[in-house]
């Protein structure tokens, strides 16, 4: 019988780096002192604690995902990690899920408890085992959920990955980038430690830019204005690195005659709790947004273009914060679609002549509800819109998802497997790829640079802003 030999494993053997965590403990920062942000303790019975957390946190849907897998391997070819490394069976979703499944079987499942070897059940015994698990669930998966949609049984591997990340985060066994961003979001309320002064100054700067562009001194970027129809929330990246998207939004809101505001606190719609698996952090950050909307009596919450931010603020955040949704919560792309449908803004598609393709973000199209909405907008603001293949719910991850952009140690593997994405982009022949996620912007930019593709990344706000016609 011909047995095919597998190649070497791509799972990155990154050690646990705790320098940031040590500094945080030494400085006794608030979130650590108050026990909200967990740090790694050498010498603690971490493996034992891991199992206790597993028992306490497991939900019905997770338990079923753990027991329903029949090891058929149909998920394998839906995963870009395996497609790019077909000789490496450790890159398949089933293998990655099995790393937590085996623990569940050993600890909670009757066959696994009585005869573990029979079902390959085994629990982690030491911190090295937990660190290896960290490298699997943080480093070899972007939690894109493509495997979930391709499983004949309905096993939700992406959810299992997030669950496992959450257990490890509680023990401080995380990549350093994950700790840093979590710390910043806990301590400052936003993912990039932007101060209130910096935030307000940047908004004023962009207001001045839009006033100049429209030659209209009445343009405002209101902060903390009550009783508005729209509460706009943004990605800290827009303040720290590229505020052009804020200017675009302000311009469009102004032309549309919208009654809108940004909040002074609770303006960060991104949410590292989604990536680290930390529901507590998720509840805190999303809760800030919901509180701001309630405090300012806003009609609806509008989320700027960010995939994981959309999923966290529109969907998961309410569950994490145990808060029933009261205000409509939507993506700014939906808002734009409404403005176009209602004639509140007019656009000239000839201002966007370069062919554009659209990259559906995992957290928006697969774990969210928006597939047709961005397309409806794009078809009105571009001359040449073309689809990539596959697209919509079946699109491939930008490869930078799941927080991978913050984890330097996994970058070489991520760029290696991005070959799948590069091929997909090139095949469109488009000069621009549009996406409604800031993470994807950077993820795709990395792919484009690494594979030397002649393409620029744009967002929907960029294209609409370019096509926007002055009010009559």
């Amino acid at each position: 019988m011909r047995r095919r030999k597998p190649g070497p494993s791509g799972i990155v053997a990154a050690p646990l780096e705790t320098k940031s965590q040590d500094n945080a403990r030494r400085d006794n920062i608030a979130s650590v002192a108050q026990g909200r942000l967990k740090t790694y303790e050498t010498g603690a019975p971490n493996a034992r604690r891991f199992l206790d957390l597993l028992s306490r946190r497991i939900t019905r849907s997770l338990a079923v995902s753990l027991t329903a897998c029949v090891h058929c391997g149909m998920c394998a070819e839906s995963c870009h990690y395996f497609l790019a490394r077909p000789d490496d069976p450790t890159m398949t979703p089933v293998y990655k899920a099995d790393q937590i499944r085996r623990v569940f079987k050993r600890h909670l499942d009757w066959t696994g408890r009585v005869v573990p070897w029979w079902v390959k059940a085994s629990a982690p015994e030491n911190d090295e085992d937990l660190n290896r698990l960290k490298n699997v669930v943080f480093g070899a998966c972007s939690a894109c959920r493509r495997c979930t949609l391709n499983c004949p049984m309905g096993v939700d591997t992406a959810l299992l990955v997030r669950f496992t990340r959450g257990l490890l985060t509680e023990l401080g066994i995380v990549p350093e980038g994950v700790f840093n961003v979590s710390r910043d979001q806990w301590e400052t309320g936003n993912q990039m430690a932007v101060s209130e002064a910096d935030y307000l100054e940047t908004l004023e700067w962009m207001r001045d830019e839009v006033r100049a562009e429209l030659a209209d001194p009445t343009v405002e970027i209101p902060v903390d204005r009550p009783d508005c129809d729209v509460l706009y929330t943004i990605n800290p990246r827009e303040i720290k690195f590229d505020p052009r998207s804020i200017a675009h939004a302000a311009k469009i809101f102004h032309v549309a005659g919208e009654k809108w505001t940004l909040p002074k606190w609770g303006w960060d719609q991104t949410n590292f709790g989604l990536f680290s698996g930390d529901d507590r952090l998720g509840a805190f950050v999303a809760g800030n947004v919901y509180e701001a909307a309630a405090r300012l009596r806003a009609g609806r919450i509008v989320i700027s273009e960010c995939g994981h931010g959309y999923r966290s603020t529109r969907w998961e955040g309410y569950d994490w914060a145990s808060r029933d949704q009261t205000a409509p919560t939507e993506s700014v792309v939906v808002t734009l679609g409404r403005y176009l449908a209602e004639g509140r803004i007019r656009v000239d598609a000839s201002r966007n002549p370069v062919p554009v393709t659209f990259h559906d973000s995992c957290n928006i199209a697969r774990s969210g509800d928006l597939v047709e909405e961005p397309r409806r907008v794009l078809r009105q603001v571009c001359l040449d819109f073309r689809e990539m293949t596959p697209n919509g719910r079946e699109n491939f991850c930008c490869t930078g998802g799941g927080g991978l952009l913050s984890m330097a140690e996994y970058r070489p593997l991520r760029l290696e497997v991005a070959r799948i994405k590069a091929d997909q982009l090139r095949a469109t022949g488009a000069g621009q790829v549009c996406t409604m996620c800031h993470n994807c912007v950077d993820g795709l930019a990395d792919v484009i640079r690494h594979y030397k593709i002649d393409m620029k990344v744009v967002q929907v706000l960029d294209l609409v802003s370019r096509a926007l016609m002055a009010p009559r």
Binding site: R3, V64, T67, V119, L149, V155, R366
Partner: protein
Amino acid sequence: MSPLLKVLENEVQVAALLFMAAVYALRLVWIFRFRLPKARTFPAGSAARGIAYSLMNVAMPWAMESTRKKPGFYVQFVIFHLGVAAAISATLIIPYRPALFENEVLVRVFQAVIAAAFLMGLLRLYRRLANPVVRLVSSADDYLSLVLMILFFAAGVMAVPNDYRRAEWPLVLFFGLTAFFLVYVPFSKIGHYLYYPFARIFLGRALGRRGALPAGSIRGRGAEREAGR
């Protein structure tokens, strides 16, 4: 018919079935003891439609990229499980409606289906040993379950003619294996049929509510959304 076979075909099966039902019930209690967090958002689609779509997934090979890319695997899955259905039906027909198997054509049809499933079983065993992806994750439970199913199908082909006057051993083997399966299934991977509907329901509900499933219902949802806001 010998008293052994008579008891094996009837009382033993009933006992084993009752045992399986009891263990199944315990397993359901175990599943339902895990909490199911409540969703607190405005839906963007229908949970019920998502559930229906998700459960129908098994009959829609075009719905998933994996089954579109590997239609052979899907065909193999269908034949294998048709064989399971035929074999299980046989375990009920033989003791309670033996007249049905006096119909030569029906017997041949059953034999053909179960024999095809037997071949699929052999193919699956080969795949589980030769394909590195599946081999890496397969356990003793996976292998034994498959080997037993292959034996079960082989016994089924021989047992279905129900010719106990000529030779009883195929029937003894068939019903013996069935009783064994009924007791073994809840503790093995074959128990997946218990979890399968729940997994599909949970996924269908979560993504249906979110409007991500069913695929292709997006045009309708746009209008729902505008109205809802």
